[in-house]
């Protein structure tokens, strides 16, 4: 039996649950503890576990570095995009009430969207940092 077999089997079993938990934290953050930041960190923890179990090459075949670079700016663009949309609708920057006809519904929509932006940026940036470091440690 190869020594890393146990790690691989366990990682394969755990990663889907970690990801589902991350999505729960992301989209249930309005009602329970959590939010985009925590969800992003949990997603990148799943990526770290994958790299530890299966190696950097396989991981990069699944999530290329370039995609991570694009994703990390996508999150910020989504966040600021919501702010600009508020400006265009005649409100202040990041004043979500103007997004929809109903003030409260607009606030809720704005919060969900910017939390999504936070989650995307945090998840991809932390994964990107880890991948870059892991590249170096393999070469040294």
């Amino acid at each position: 039996m190869r020594p890393d077999l146990l790690l691989k089997v366990l990682a394969k079993f755990l990663i889907p649950f970690i990801l589902i938990f991350a999505f729960y934290v992301q989209f249930h953050g309005d009602f329970s503890p959590g939010g985009g930041f925590q969800a992003g960190v949990i997603i990148s923890a799943a990526a770290v576990l994958y790299v530890l179990a299966f190696g950097l090459e396989l991981a990069e075949r699944g999530i290329p570095l370039r995609a991570l670079q694009y994703l990390s700016s996508t999150g910020i663009l989504l966040y600021t995009g919501v702010g600009v949309a508020c400006l265009l609708k005649g409100g202040n920057f990041l004043d979500y009430s103007v997004l929809l006809d109903n003030d409260v519904a607009g606030q809720h929509l704005g919060i969900i969207l910017i939390e999504l932006g936070v989650g995307i940026t945090v998840a991809s940036t932390l994964t990107l940092i880890f991948f870059t470091f892991a590249h170096w440690s393999r070469h040294s």
Partner: protein, 195 residues
Amino acid sequence: MESLLDLILMIFLLIMALAILHTRHLLAMAMLFGLYSFLMAGLFLLMDAPDVAFTEAAVGAGISTVLMIVTLAVTGIHRERPGRIHWPALFVVMLTGGLLLAGLSQLPAVGDPASPATLGVARHYVEHAAEETGVPNLVTAVLASYRGFDTLGEVVVVFTAGLGVLLLLGLDRRKPRIRKRARKEGGDSETRPAA
């Protein structure tokens, strides 16, 4: 019961801090920092701040420990070099610590309803946030809506950190040359990395 848990966590926190000071092995130090963060997360949870506890456990105990360990794998230096005592630095640290301890008695008690933090906008948030934003979790409402600008700044900070790592390590592919120089400089490190 809760104060007993508080006490136990505090004692372990102190033990962790002393152990971090005592150990010279950088890998062990990184692990101990992770444990320290995890104990802090427990304390935050006892203070009824699950959102903060969540972040502390995920970021402090999880990701930053992993980042410290991969950094050690890159640098290949696994032991702290024993240095001489830097007296001015020691003086500044002692002075700051003393001032902080002296200021401790002026802080309001935990949960004090008359403390400045609960008298300002916090009262408005507690009373009106749920109906104004439609979000029952007050922390999310404050972070994402009332303090949306703040949170935007935080996300930009994370993004900038990633950008910095990319600029320093990621985009430059001339690894072997830099590594050779690093090895020459770090030649007196006591152990080589296993990775």
